[in-house]
Symmetry: C2
Subunit: 241 residues, 2 copies
Protein backbone atom coordinates (compact mmCIF):
# COMPACT_ATOMS: atom_id res chain seq x y z
CA UNK A 1 0.00 0.00 0.00
CA UNK A 2 2.86 2.37 0.78
CA UNK A 3 4.09 1.99 -2.78
CA UNK A 4 0.76 2.53 -4.47
CA UNK A 5 1.09 4.69 -7.59
CA UNK A 6 -0.60 8.08 -7.57
CA UNK A 7 -4.03 7.82 -9.16
CA UNK A 8 -4.29 9.82 -12.37
CA UNK A 9 -7.80 8.90 -13.49
CA UNK A 10 -10.94 7.07 -12.33
CA UNK A 11 -12.77 4.63 -14.59
CA UNK A 12 -16.27 3.58 -13.64
CA UNK A 13 -18.33 0.52 -14.13
CA UNK A 14 -21.80 1.93 -14.73
CA UNK A 15 -24.66 -0.63 -14.58
CA UNK A 16 -25.18 -1.30 -10.88
CA UNK A 17 -22.29 0.90 -9.77
CA UNK A 18 -23.54 4.31 -10.92
CA UNK A 19 -27.11 3.56 -11.99
CA UNK A 20 -29.84 1.25 -10.69
CA UNK A 21 -30.58 -0.99 -13.67
CA UNK A 22 -33.06 -3.28 -11.92
CA UNK A 23 -35.54 -0.59 -10.84
CA UNK A 24 -35.23 1.27 -14.13
CA UNK A 25 -35.86 -1.77 -16.30
CA UNK A 26 -38.74 -2.90 -14.09
CA UNK A 27 -40.31 0.57 -14.27
CA UNK A 28 -40.22 0.60 -18.08
CA UNK A 29 -41.17 -3.07 -18.53
CA UNK A 30 -44.20 -2.82 -16.22
CA UNK A 31 -46.54 -0.91 -18.57
CA UNK A 32 -45.59 -3.19 -21.48
CA UNK A 33 -46.36 -6.30 -19.45
CA UNK A 34 -49.60 -4.70 -18.19
CA UNK A 35 -50.74 -4.04 -21.76
CA UNK A 36 -50.21 -7.74 -22.45
CA UNK A 37 -52.24 -8.63 -19.32
CA UNK A 38 -49.24 -10.52 -18.01
CA UNK A 39 -49.59 -9.74 -14.31
CA UNK A 40 -47.99 -13.16 -13.71
CA UNK A 41 -44.59 -11.73 -14.73
CA UNK A 42 -43.01 -9.60 -12.01
CA UNK A 43 -41.30 -6.61 -13.66
CA UNK A 44 -38.26 -6.96 -11.37
CA UNK A 45 -37.91 -10.62 -12.26
CA UNK A 46 -38.22 -9.56 -15.91
CA UNK A 47 -35.30 -7.16 -15.33
CA UNK A 48 -33.27 -9.96 -13.71
CA UNK A 49 -34.01 -12.26 -16.63
CA UNK A 50 -32.93 -9.64 -19.14
CA UNK A 51 -29.70 -8.86 -17.33
CA UNK A 52 -28.87 -12.55 -16.90
CA UNK A 53 -29.31 -13.20 -20.62
CA UNK A 54 -26.69 -10.76 -21.79
CA UNK A 55 -23.69 -12.44 -20.19
CA UNK A 56 -23.73 -15.52 -22.48
CA UNK A 57 -24.13 -13.16 -25.45
CA UNK A 58 -21.09 -11.16 -24.28
CA UNK A 59 -19.16 -14.38 -23.94
CA UNK A 60 -19.79 -15.20 -27.60
CA UNK A 61 -18.05 -11.92 -28.49
CA UNK A 62 -15.30 -12.21 -25.88
CA UNK A 63 -14.46 -15.69 -27.10
CA UNK A 64 -14.07 -14.45 -30.65
CA UNK A 65 -16.86 -16.72 -31.90
CA UNK A 66 -18.80 -13.62 -32.86
CA UNK A 67 -17.54 -10.28 -34.23
CA UNK A 68 -17.92 -7.27 -31.94
CA UNK A 69 -21.45 -5.91 -31.76
CA UNK A 70 -22.63 -3.13 -29.46
CA UNK A 71 -24.55 -3.77 -26.27
CA UNK A 72 -27.73 -2.19 -27.68
CA UNK A 73 -27.79 -5.06 -30.17
CA UNK A 74 -27.18 -7.70 -27.49
CA UNK A 75 -29.86 -6.11 -25.29
CA UNK A 76 -32.34 -6.32 -28.17
CA UNK A 77 -31.54 -9.96 -28.84
CA UNK A 78 -31.76 -10.79 -25.14
CA UNK A 79 -35.12 -9.02 -24.92
CA UNK A 80 -36.56 -11.06 -27.78
CA UNK A 81 -35.25 -14.24 -26.19
CA UNK A 82 -36.75 -13.27 -22.83
CA UNK A 83 -40.12 -12.48 -24.40
CA UNK A 84 -40.17 -15.87 -26.12
CA UNK A 85 -39.23 -17.49 -22.79
CA UNK A 86 -42.44 -15.99 -21.44
CA UNK A 87 -44.35 -17.25 -24.49
CA UNK A 88 -44.63 -13.73 -25.91
CA UNK A 89 -43.98 -13.39 -29.64
CA UNK A 90 -41.72 -10.33 -30.23
CA UNK A 91 -43.58 -9.98 -33.54
CA UNK A 92 -46.64 -8.84 -31.53
CA UNK A 93 -44.90 -5.50 -31.01
CA UNK A 94 -44.18 -2.84 -33.56
CA UNK A 95 -40.52 -1.97 -34.09
CA UNK A 96 -40.84 1.34 -32.28
CA UNK A 97 -42.06 -0.39 -29.11
CA UNK A 98 -39.21 -2.91 -29.17
CA UNK A 99 -36.63 -0.15 -29.71
CA UNK A 100 -38.16 1.94 -26.95
CA UNK A 101 -38.14 -0.96 -24.50
CA UNK A 102 -34.57 -1.90 -25.47
CA UNK A 103 -33.63 1.70 -24.76
CA UNK A 104 -34.90 1.36 -21.21
CA UNK A 105 -31.18 0.69 -20.58
CA UNK A 106 -30.56 4.31 -21.68
CA UNK A 107 -33.04 5.61 -19.10
CA UNK A 108 -31.68 4.21 -15.85
CA UNK A 109 -31.66 6.43 -12.79
CA UNK A 110 -28.46 7.07 -10.83
CA UNK A 111 -28.17 5.93 -7.23
CA UNK A 112 -28.86 8.83 -4.85
CA UNK A 113 -25.18 9.64 -4.29
CA UNK A 114 -23.94 9.19 -7.89
CA UNK A 115 -24.32 12.66 -9.39
CA UNK A 116 -22.93 14.48 -6.36
CA UNK A 117 -20.15 11.92 -5.97
CA UNK A 118 -19.08 12.04 -9.61
CA UNK A 119 -19.27 15.83 -9.69
CA UNK A 120 -16.98 16.07 -6.67
CA UNK A 121 -14.61 13.34 -7.92
CA UNK A 122 -14.36 15.14 -11.28
CA UNK A 123 -12.80 18.12 -9.54
CA UNK A 124 -9.86 15.88 -8.48
CA UNK A 125 -9.51 13.34 -11.29
CA UNK A 126 -10.75 12.70 -14.80
CA UNK A 127 -13.83 10.49 -14.55
CA UNK A 128 -14.55 8.17 -17.48
CA UNK A 129 -16.85 5.23 -18.14
CA UNK A 130 -15.38 1.76 -18.41
CA UNK A 131 -18.60 -0.05 -19.12
CA UNK A 132 -19.71 -2.69 -21.56
CA UNK A 133 -22.42 -0.24 -22.62
CA UNK A 134 -21.99 1.34 -26.04
CA UNK A 135 -21.33 5.00 -26.71
CA UNK A 136 -24.87 6.00 -27.71
CA UNK A 137 -26.28 4.24 -24.65
CA UNK A 138 -23.80 5.83 -22.23
CA UNK A 139 -24.27 9.25 -23.81
CA UNK A 140 -28.08 9.16 -23.64
CA UNK A 141 -27.93 7.89 -20.06
CA UNK A 142 -25.46 10.58 -19.03
CA UNK A 143 -27.50 13.40 -20.56
CA UNK A 144 -30.71 12.20 -18.91
CA UNK A 145 -29.15 11.43 -15.52
CA UNK A 146 -26.69 14.36 -15.47
CA UNK A 147 -23.61 12.15 -15.15
CA UNK A 148 -20.65 14.48 -15.75
CA UNK A 149 -18.25 12.13 -17.57
CA UNK A 150 -15.04 13.58 -18.96
CA UNK A 151 -15.08 10.87 -21.62
CA UNK A 152 -17.09 7.81 -22.57
CA UNK A 153 -14.66 4.94 -22.94
CA UNK A 154 -15.25 1.21 -22.49
CA UNK A 155 -16.19 -1.65 -24.76
CA UNK A 156 -17.15 0.13 -27.96
CA UNK A 157 -14.07 2.37 -27.83
CA UNK A 158 -11.60 -0.39 -26.99
CA UNK A 159 -13.41 -3.02 -29.08
CA UNK A 160 -13.15 -5.44 -26.15
CA UNK A 161 -15.71 -6.47 -23.55
CA UNK A 162 -14.92 -6.69 -19.83
CA UNK A 163 -13.55 -8.61 -18.09
CA UNK A 164 -10.91 -9.31 -20.75
CA UNK A 165 -7.60 -7.77 -19.57
CA UNK A 166 -7.29 -5.65 -22.69
CA UNK A 167 -10.49 -3.78 -21.81
CA UNK A 168 -8.75 -2.32 -18.75
CA UNK A 169 -5.33 -1.84 -20.32
CA UNK A 170 -6.68 -0.16 -23.46
CA UNK A 171 -8.55 2.32 -21.27
CA UNK A 172 -5.35 3.24 -19.43
CA UNK A 173 -3.51 3.57 -22.73
CA UNK A 174 -6.16 5.88 -24.21
CA UNK A 175 -5.87 8.05 -21.10
CA UNK A 176 -2.07 8.03 -21.48
CA UNK A 177 -1.59 6.63 -17.98
CA UNK A 178 -0.07 3.44 -16.67
CA UNK A 179 -2.54 0.71 -15.60
CA UNK A 180 -1.38 1.25 -12.00
CA UNK A 181 -2.32 4.93 -12.27
CA UNK A 182 -5.91 4.09 -13.22
CA UNK A 183 -8.47 3.09 -10.60
CA UNK A 184 -11.55 1.09 -11.50
CA UNK A 185 -14.60 1.97 -9.43
CA UNK A 186 -17.14 -0.85 -9.40
CA UNK A 187 -19.79 -2.57 -7.30
CA UNK A 188 -18.76 -5.98 -8.65
CA UNK A 189 -15.95 -8.08 -7.22
CA UNK A 190 -15.51 -9.99 -10.48
CA UNK A 191 -14.91 -6.76 -12.42
CA UNK A 192 -12.49 -5.47 -9.78
CA UNK A 193 -10.62 -8.78 -9.70
CA UNK A 194 -10.06 -8.64 -13.45
CA UNK A 195 -9.01 -4.99 -13.25
CA UNK A 196 -6.52 -5.81 -10.49
CA UNK A 197 -5.13 -8.70 -12.51
CA UNK A 198 -4.62 -6.22 -15.39
CA UNK A 199 -2.66 -3.92 -13.05
CA UNK A 200 -5.29 -1.32 -12.13
CA UNK A 201 -6.09 0.04 -8.69
CA UNK A 202 -9.50 -0.88 -7.37
CA UNK A 203 -12.32 0.86 -5.51
CA UNK A 204 -15.33 -1.15 -4.38
CA UNK A 205 -18.66 0.60 -3.93
CA UNK A 206 -21.24 -1.35 -1.98
CA UNK A 207 -24.64 -1.35 -3.71
CA UNK A 208 -26.76 -3.61 -1.50
CA UNK A 209 -29.94 -2.84 -3.49
CA UNK A 210 -28.53 -3.79 -6.91
CA UNK A 211 -30.30 -7.16 -6.74
CA UNK A 212 -33.20 -5.92 -4.64
CA UNK A 213 -31.41 -6.75 -1.40
CA UNK A 214 -30.38 -10.28 -2.37
CA UNK A 215 -26.67 -11.11 -2.42
CA UNK A 216 -24.70 -10.37 -5.58
CA UNK A 217 -23.82 -13.43 -7.70
CA UNK A 218 -20.10 -12.66 -7.32
CA UNK A 219 -20.13 -12.01 -3.55
CA UNK A 220 -17.66 -14.86 -3.06
CA UNK A 221 -15.07 -13.06 -5.22
CA UNK A 222 -14.51 -10.33 -2.60
CA UNK A 223 -10.91 -9.29 -1.97
CA UNK A 224 -9.23 -6.59 0.07
CA UNK A 225 -9.64 -3.77 -2.45
CA UNK A 226 -7.54 -0.60 -2.42
CA UNK A 227 -10.63 1.40 -1.48
CA UNK A 228 -13.97 0.23 -0.17
CA UNK A 229 -16.83 2.67 0.24
CA UNK A 230 -20.59 2.79 0.66
CA UNK A 231 -21.17 5.60 -1.85
CA UNK A 232 -19.45 7.76 -4.46
CA UNK A 233 -19.66 10.72 -2.10
CA UNK A 234 -17.66 8.68 0.42
CA UNK A 235 -15.14 7.91 -2.32
CA UNK A 236 -14.86 11.66 -2.95
CA UNK A 237 -14.28 12.16 0.79
CA UNK A 238 -11.40 9.66 0.61
CA UNK A 239 -9.81 10.65 -2.71
CA UNK A 240 -10.34 14.42 -2.86
CA UNK A 241 -8.78 15.48 0.39
CA UNK B 1 -33.16 22.90 -47.49
CA UNK B 2 -36.84 22.13 -46.96
CA UNK B 3 -36.04 18.43 -46.77
CA UNK B 4 -33.13 18.69 -44.40
CA UNK B 5 -33.17 15.90 -41.77
CA UNK B 6 -33.67 16.93 -38.17
CA UNK B 7 -30.31 17.32 -36.45
CA UNK B 8 -29.77 14.77 -33.68
CA UNK B 9 -26.19 15.60 -32.65
CA UNK B 10 -23.43 18.13 -33.22
CA UNK B 11 -19.84 17.04 -33.87
CA UNK B 12 -17.10 19.64 -33.55
CA UNK B 13 -13.78 20.16 -35.15
CA UNK B 14 -11.66 21.48 -32.30
CA UNK B 15 -8.28 22.98 -33.33
CA UNK B 16 -9.12 26.40 -34.76
CA UNK B 17 -12.88 25.94 -34.43
CA UNK B 18 -13.23 25.72 -30.64
CA UNK B 19 -9.73 26.63 -29.46
CA UNK B 20 -7.05 29.06 -30.66
CA UNK B 21 -4.08 26.79 -31.38
CA UNK B 22 -1.80 29.49 -32.81
CA UNK B 23 -1.81 31.78 -29.78
CA UNK B 24 -1.58 28.88 -27.34
CA UNK B 25 1.37 27.23 -29.04
CA UNK B 26 3.16 30.58 -29.44
CA UNK B 27 2.61 31.35 -25.74
CA UNK B 28 4.15 28.05 -24.65
CA UNK B 29 6.95 28.02 -27.24
CA UNK B 30 8.07 31.57 -26.43
CA UNK B 31 9.84 30.84 -23.11
CA UNK B 32 11.54 27.77 -24.61
CA UNK B 33 12.85 29.80 -27.55
CA UNK B 34 13.90 32.61 -25.18
CA UNK B 35 15.93 30.18 -23.07
CA UNK B 36 17.74 29.17 -26.26
CA UNK B 37 18.39 32.86 -27.08
CA UNK B 38 16.56 32.36 -30.35
CA UNK B 39 14.85 35.73 -30.62
CA UNK B 40 15.15 35.30 -34.39
CA UNK B 41 12.34 32.73 -34.31
CA UNK B 42 8.91 34.30 -33.97
CA UNK B 43 6.80 32.12 -31.66
CA UNK B 44 3.73 32.50 -33.90
CA UNK B 45 5.74 31.41 -36.95
CA UNK B 46 6.96 28.49 -34.83
CA UNK B 47 3.31 27.58 -34.18
CA UNK B 48 2.54 27.80 -37.91
CA UNK B 49 5.52 25.61 -38.72
CA UNK B 50 4.46 23.00 -36.18
CA UNK B 51 0.86 22.90 -37.42
CA UNK B 52 1.98 22.71 -41.06
CA UNK B 53 4.20 19.74 -40.32
CA UNK B 54 1.51 17.47 -39.01
CA UNK B 55 -0.54 17.24 -42.20
CA UNK B 56 2.05 15.18 -44.14
CA UNK B 57 2.38 12.93 -41.10
CA UNK B 58 -1.38 12.44 -41.01
CA UNK B 59 -1.31 11.62 -44.69
CA UNK B 60 1.12 8.79 -44.04
CA UNK B 61 -1.47 7.25 -41.71
CA UNK B 62 -4.49 8.04 -43.89
CA UNK B 63 -2.80 6.43 -46.89
CA UNK B 64 -2.20 3.24 -44.95
CA UNK B 65 1.58 3.51 -45.34
CA UNK B 66 1.82 3.82 -41.57
CA UNK B 67 -0.24 2.13 -38.86
CA UNK B 68 -2.49 4.39 -36.78
CA UNK B 69 -0.63 6.42 -34.18
CA UNK B 70 -2.18 9.09 -31.97
CA UNK B 71 -1.77 12.79 -32.64
CA UNK B 72 0.38 13.29 -29.53
CA UNK B 73 2.98 11.09 -31.23
CA UNK B 74 2.73 12.96 -34.53
CA UNK B 75 2.97 16.29 -32.68
CA UNK B 76 6.15 15.11 -30.95
CA UNK B 77 7.74 13.97 -34.21
CA UNK B 78 6.74 17.23 -35.91
CA UNK B 79 8.24 19.21 -33.03
CA UNK B 80 11.59 17.42 -33.33
CA UNK B 81 11.56 17.99 -37.08
CA UNK B 82 10.74 21.68 -36.59
CA UNK B 83 13.52 22.10 -34.02
CA UNK B 84 16.02 20.55 -36.41
CA UNK B 85 14.75 22.83 -39.17
CA UNK B 86 15.79 25.70 -36.90
CA UNK B 87 19.16 24.05 -36.27
CA UNK B 88 18.16 23.10 -32.73
CA UNK B 89 19.09 19.59 -31.62
CA UNK B 90 16.10 18.05 -29.78
CA UNK B 91 18.71 16.20 -27.71
CA UNK B 92 19.54 19.52 -26.04
CA UNK B 93 16.31 19.18 -24.08
CA UNK B 94 15.47 16.73 -21.35
CA UNK B 95 12.54 14.42 -22.02
CA UNK B 96 10.30 16.26 -19.59
CA UNK B 97 10.73 19.53 -21.47
CA UNK B 98 9.94 17.91 -24.82
CA UNK B 99 6.84 16.23 -23.40
CA UNK B 100 5.71 19.45 -21.76
CA UNK B 101 6.14 21.42 -24.98
CA UNK B 102 4.39 18.72 -27.02
CA UNK B 103 1.53 18.96 -24.54
CA UNK B 104 1.15 22.65 -25.34
CA UNK B 105 -1.54 21.26 -27.68
CA UNK B 106 -3.41 20.12 -24.52
CA UNK B 107 -3.33 23.66 -23.12
CA UNK B 108 -5.01 25.69 -25.83
CA UNK B 109 -7.47 28.38 -24.83
CA UNK B 110 -11.01 28.45 -26.21
CA UNK B 111 -12.19 31.34 -28.37
CA UNK B 112 -14.16 33.85 -26.29
CA UNK B 113 -17.57 32.44 -27.31
CA UNK B 114 -16.73 28.71 -27.18
CA UNK B 115 -17.60 27.75 -23.61
CA UNK B 116 -20.85 29.69 -23.52
CA UNK B 117 -21.76 28.50 -27.02
CA UNK B 118 -21.08 24.84 -26.30
CA UNK B 119 -22.85 25.01 -22.95
CA UNK B 120 -25.96 26.42 -24.61
CA UNK B 121 -25.79 24.02 -27.58
CA UNK B 122 -25.47 21.09 -25.16
CA UNK B 123 -28.93 21.90 -23.78
CA UNK B 124 -30.41 21.19 -27.26
CA UNK B 125 -28.16 18.52 -28.75
CA UNK B 126 -25.41 16.12 -27.75
CA UNK B 127 -22.08 17.85 -28.41
CA UNK B 128 -19.10 15.63 -29.23
CA UNK B 129 -15.61 16.13 -30.59
CA UNK B 130 -14.80 15.00 -34.11
CA UNK B 131 -11.15 16.00 -34.07
CA UNK B 132 -7.94 14.38 -35.15
CA UNK B 133 -6.73 14.96 -31.59
CA UNK B 134 -6.40 11.87 -29.42
CA UNK B 135 -8.50 11.09 -26.37
CA UNK B 136 -5.94 12.09 -23.72
CA UNK B 137 -5.29 15.38 -25.52
CA UNK B 138 -9.00 16.23 -25.92
CA UNK B 139 -9.72 15.23 -22.32
CA UNK B 140 -6.92 17.35 -20.84
CA UNK B 141 -7.89 20.29 -23.03
CA UNK B 142 -11.57 19.99 -22.09
CA UNK B 143 -10.84 19.85 -18.36
CA UNK B 144 -8.54 22.87 -18.50
CA UNK B 145 -10.76 24.94 -20.80
CA UNK B 146 -14.11 23.80 -19.37
CA UNK B 147 -15.41 22.43 -22.66
CA UNK B 148 -18.56 20.47 -21.74
CA UNK B 149 -18.36 17.60 -24.24
CA UNK B 150 -20.89 14.80 -23.96
CA UNK B 151 -18.34 12.44 -25.49
CA UNK B 152 -14.87 12.55 -26.97
CA UNK B 153 -15.04 10.87 -30.35
CA UNK B 154 -12.88 11.43 -33.43
CA UNK B 155 -9.74 9.86 -34.83
CA UNK B 156 -8.58 7.67 -31.94
CA UNK B 157 -12.07 6.28 -31.38
CA UNK B 158 -12.86 5.62 -35.04
CA UNK B 159 -9.27 4.67 -35.90
CA UNK B 160 -9.45 6.95 -38.95
CA UNK B 161 -8.13 10.47 -39.50
CA UNK B 162 -10.17 13.23 -41.11
CA UNK B 163 -10.95 13.97 -43.86
CA UNK B 164 -11.42 10.29 -44.80
CA UNK B 165 -15.19 9.66 -45.23
CA UNK B 166 -15.18 6.88 -42.63
CA UNK B 167 -14.15 9.37 -39.93
CA UNK B 168 -17.48 11.17 -40.31
CA UNK B 169 -19.60 8.07 -40.91
CA UNK B 170 -18.13 6.14 -37.97
CA UNK B 171 -18.95 9.06 -35.69
CA UNK B 172 -22.59 9.03 -36.81
CA UNK B 173 -22.72 5.27 -36.33
CA UNK B 174 -21.30 5.47 -32.81
CA UNK B 175 -23.97 8.05 -31.97
CA UNK B 176 -26.62 5.76 -33.49
CA UNK B 177 -27.76 8.47 -35.90
CA UNK B 178 -27.79 8.70 -39.69
CA UNK B 179 -25.01 10.78 -41.28
CA UNK B 180 -27.68 13.30 -42.38
CA UNK B 181 -28.76 13.68 -38.74
CA UNK B 182 -25.26 14.67 -37.64
CA UNK B 183 -23.95 18.19 -38.19
CA UNK B 184 -20.23 18.93 -38.32
CA UNK B 185 -19.30 22.31 -36.87
CA UNK B 186 -15.97 23.55 -38.22
CA UNK B 187 -14.01 26.64 -39.19
CA UNK B 188 -12.43 24.82 -42.15
CA UNK B 189 -14.07 24.54 -45.55
CA UNK B 190 -12.01 21.45 -46.42
CA UNK B 191 -13.31 19.59 -43.35
CA UNK B 192 -16.90 20.65 -44.05
CA UNK B 193 -16.62 19.63 -47.71
CA UNK B 194 -15.50 16.14 -46.71
CA UNK B 195 -18.26 15.90 -44.10
CA UNK B 196 -20.86 16.96 -46.66
CA UNK B 197 -19.55 14.40 -49.13
CA UNK B 198 -19.98 11.77 -46.39
CA UNK B 199 -23.61 12.83 -45.94
CA UNK B 200 -23.40 15.08 -42.87
CA UNK B 201 -24.95 18.49 -42.36
CA UNK B 202 -22.50 21.35 -42.09
CA UNK B 203 -22.10 24.46 -39.96
CA UNK B 204 -19.31 26.91 -40.72
CA UNK B 205 -17.91 29.07 -37.93
CA UNK B 206 -15.83 32.00 -39.07
CA UNK B 207 -12.56 32.26 -37.13
CA UNK B 208 -10.75 35.16 -38.80
CA UNK B 209 -7.95 35.11 -36.22
CA UNK B 210 -7.05 31.43 -36.64
CA UNK B 211 -4.06 32.35 -38.81
CA UNK B 212 -3.43 35.69 -37.13
CA UNK B 213 -5.71 37.52 -39.55
CA UNK B 214 -4.25 36.02 -42.72
CA UNK B 215 -6.55 34.03 -45.01
CA UNK B 216 -7.05 30.34 -44.30
CA UNK B 217 -5.25 27.96 -46.65
CA UNK B 218 -8.57 26.42 -47.69
CA UNK B 219 -10.47 29.69 -48.22
CA UNK B 220 -11.07 28.73 -51.86
CA UNK B 221 -13.01 25.60 -50.79
CA UNK B 222 -15.94 27.67 -49.45
CA UNK B 223 -19.43 26.39 -50.27
CA UNK B 224 -22.94 27.38 -49.28
CA UNK B 225 -23.02 25.53 -45.96
CA UNK B 226 -26.22 24.59 -44.14
CA UNK B 227 -25.36 27.07 -41.40
CA UNK B 228 -22.81 29.86 -41.35
CA UNK B 229 -22.12 31.78 -38.17
CA UNK B 230 -19.56 34.08 -36.58
CA UNK B 231 -19.52 32.31 -33.20
CA UNK B 232 -20.78 29.27 -31.32
CA UNK B 233 -23.16 31.52 -29.39
CA UNK B 234 -24.67 32.59 -32.71
CA UNK B 235 -24.99 28.90 -33.65
CA UNK B 236 -26.85 28.34 -30.37
CA UNK B 237 -29.14 31.26 -31.27
CA UNK B 238 -29.92 29.55 -34.58
CA UNK B 239 -30.20 25.93 -33.44
CA UNK B 240 -31.70 26.20 -29.94
CA UNK B 241 -34.79 28.24 -30.65
Amino acid sequence: MAHRSPIKALAFDVFGTVVDWRSGIARDAAPVLARLHRSDIDPHAFADGWRKRYQPALEEVRSGRRAFVVLDTLHREALEDLLRHHAIDPGEFDEETLVHLTHAWHRLDPWADSVEGLTRLKTCYPVVTLSNGNIALMLAMARRAQLPWDAILGAEVSGVYKPLPESYRATARMLAVEPAELCLVAAHHSDLAAARAAGLQTAYVDRPQEYGGRPAPDASAAQDWDFSVASLTQLADELCR
